[in-house]
Amino acid sequence: MSSCLDLPQVDTPEGEGPIAAPEPVFEQPWHAQAFALTVGLSEAGHFSWADWVKRFSATLKEHGHDRALNGGEDYFAAWLETLESFLAEIGAASSAQVEHTRARWEEAYLTTPHGAPVKLAQ
């Protein structure tokens, strides 16, 4: 882990080839999913991108008080927290609904035999 003042894991400018995309673009599948959900909701007109950025910046600032964020997992943790509170605020998904559905997914994973597709029980 890098110290607070050091840049975490800087890519060498030439080492990765001149036009390579950052590798990987998303470190975890859920990072990509949280990103896509947010962009999709904004594009569908449920909130403006500027409103999203305002809230997300505030969360990052709050999280950054205690320690320097590395821009990876902690960045998307802040992203998800912002998205959840934003969706609760606009009445799209309450925290109770999210917890209930999360628990159903957890249950589905724990009761689906390894290798079988995981689906929510109806």
């Binding site: 400018p13 036009i19 999913q33 590395n70």
Partner: protein, 222 residues
């Protein structure tokens, strides 16, 4: 990572935040607020289709065509839209030109605003607190960590991106590239050179070809 047993009688449980994202997706799809196909399209676009190659194309064109460059510096949003690179959030694009007198560097101090249509998703370091804070406070030191040392009389200007305005740096054209084709020039334009944390690659790095690209570059950011 939750990883309780060595053998898995049941499907491997994804990490907690992944389950929360799945829950959001389920709720929003059930309510018809989001289309799962649209989500897949967004992921595919940003993972596979949009990346620094778009910005590199714009830079190479600007190096080759003075009229294009003039128009680009005047109103980049219009010019890049004509090339098919437009902001899905309707953001305004501004291109800032590096010269012998001024080097430009881009940051987003608030979060991670970035010219997505031209560069794709930002690298982790761009989103880190360290870069976001230090790029403004001590840009030359940050540049040095990226292996960039500027002449002392070159000033550094740092541009702070917002939700509405995204910046792209137009790096200086490397010497010895007169008469090069657009594709050859594109190969010199690194992602970091368009953020301003790098310079365009030297002509020699491409002429030397494959051997050069196989050599790993010394760490520049220790």
């Amino acid at each position: 990572m939750p990883h309780d047993h060595h053998d898995h009688p049941h499907a491997l449980l994804p990490p907690e935040p992944a389950l929360r994202v799945k829950a959001l997706e389920t709720i929003l799809c059930d309510k018809g607020l989001i289309d799962p196909a649209a989500l897949e399209e967004i992921i595919d676009t940003y993972q596979n289709k949009i990346g620094p190659q778009n910005g590199a194309r714009v830079v190479a064109k600007a190096w080759m065509d003075p009229d294009f460059k003039r128009a680009l510096l005047q109103d980049a949003t219009e010019v890049v839209r004509d090339l098919g690179y437009y902001g899905r959030q309707g953001e305004h694009m501004v291109v800032v030109e590096n010269t012998a007198e001024q080097h430009n560097m881009v940051v987003c101090t608030l979060c991670s605003c970035y010219p997505w249509p031209l560069l794709g998703i930002p690298p982790g370091w761009y989103k880190s607190d360290a870069y976001r804070a230090r790029a403004v406070r001590e840009p030359r030191k940050v540049l040095a960590e990226f292996g960039v040392t500027l002449p002392p009389d070159t000033s550094v200007r740092v541009w702070d991106s917002t939700a509405e305005v995204r910046y792209l740096v137009l790096p200086m054209r490397p010497e010895g590239t007169e008469g090069w084709t657009e594709d050859q020039l594109v190969a010199l334009v690194s992602r970091d050179s368009m953020i301003g944390t790098g310079l365009a690659l030297a002509a020699a790095s491409v002429i030397e070809g494959v051997e050069a690209s196989n050599q790993s570059v010394e760490g520049t950011a220790e």
